[in-house]
Amino acid sequence: MSEEKALQIEETEKREVAETGAERTRDRLAFVPRADVYEINDAIVVVADMPGVDEESVDITLEQDLLTISGYVEPEYPEGYELSAAEYRIGDFTRAFTLSDQIDRENIEASAKDGVLRLRLPKLAEAKKRTITVKAG
């Protein structure tokens, strides 16, 4: 394999949720998960990094056009140990997105693997893009 790109720590830092508007009910640190959002012809795909989260501890809600994804992390503190060095903090994850397209709510697919949440939000039939031919002249 040719030269691999090296992953930089600055590219992966955790960003805390800004305390604006409504507060969270859980009194715990919350981070904004890094997410990729992309659109294919028939769906919107959201992929979010949530280390420590599995399918049981993920929460997805879609209200009107607001999609909220949350992941709850139960930190494992080794008993009897002291934290000597901490380069990262542990907390929950939460993020909300406004969806512009009409989503088929009944068929949202979600999976969590290796701390990554993947959502497939299928577009409603009428929302799928139609190619419009542009004629010259």
Partner: protein
């Protein structure tokens, strides 16, 4: 220092972690330092839990497959190598956001004690890597048999 809402600080551990994180940043900024644990900054971020003789390292490696991680231990050095691969994305996908990064990583940690590589345990669960080092064995005094005659 920006004052955060007090609510955030009700957890003593959260407070401690934040203080340690700042201390760690200062330590690494002065690298090399005389601190026992030595790591040059890099990905992934590592937390170190210790007792008198034992240590556990944790790191967040979301989306990294088990087969793409390599841990090597030699004397008092632990090296964490690996590759976070990009996703398989369908043809013609239009990105609205791309924040997740991928690439190779290699991080070396200098341990305060020698470690038997055969006894190091590592576990990857939900993107969190936990490395349990065998506890440092105290130098046991060697018994010397005294023979008669």
């Amino acid at each position: 220092m920006i004052m955060r809402p007090y609510r955030r600080w009700t957890s003593p551990l959260a407070r401690e972690m934040e203080q340690l994180r700042r201390d760690m940043n200062r330590l690494l900024a002065d690298f090399p330092s005389s601190h026992q644990w030595r790591m040059a900054p890099g990905y992934p971020a590592v937390n170190i839990w210790t007792t008198e003789e034992c240590a556990i390292l944790t790191a967040e490696l979301a989306g990294v497959a088990l087969e793409d991680i390599e841990i090597a231990v030699e004397n008092d050095t632990l090296t964490l190598n690996g590759n976070r691969k990009p996703d398989d994305v369908e043809e013609g996908a239009a990105y609205h956001r791309q924040e997740r990064r991928y690439g190779s990583f290699a991080r070396t940690v200098r341990l305060p004690f020698r470690v038997d590589p055969g006894k190091v345990e590592a576990r990857l669960r939900n993107g969190v890597l936990t490395i349990t080092l065998p506890c440092a064995e105290a130098e046991k005094p060697k018994k010397i048999m005294v023979k008669a005659g």
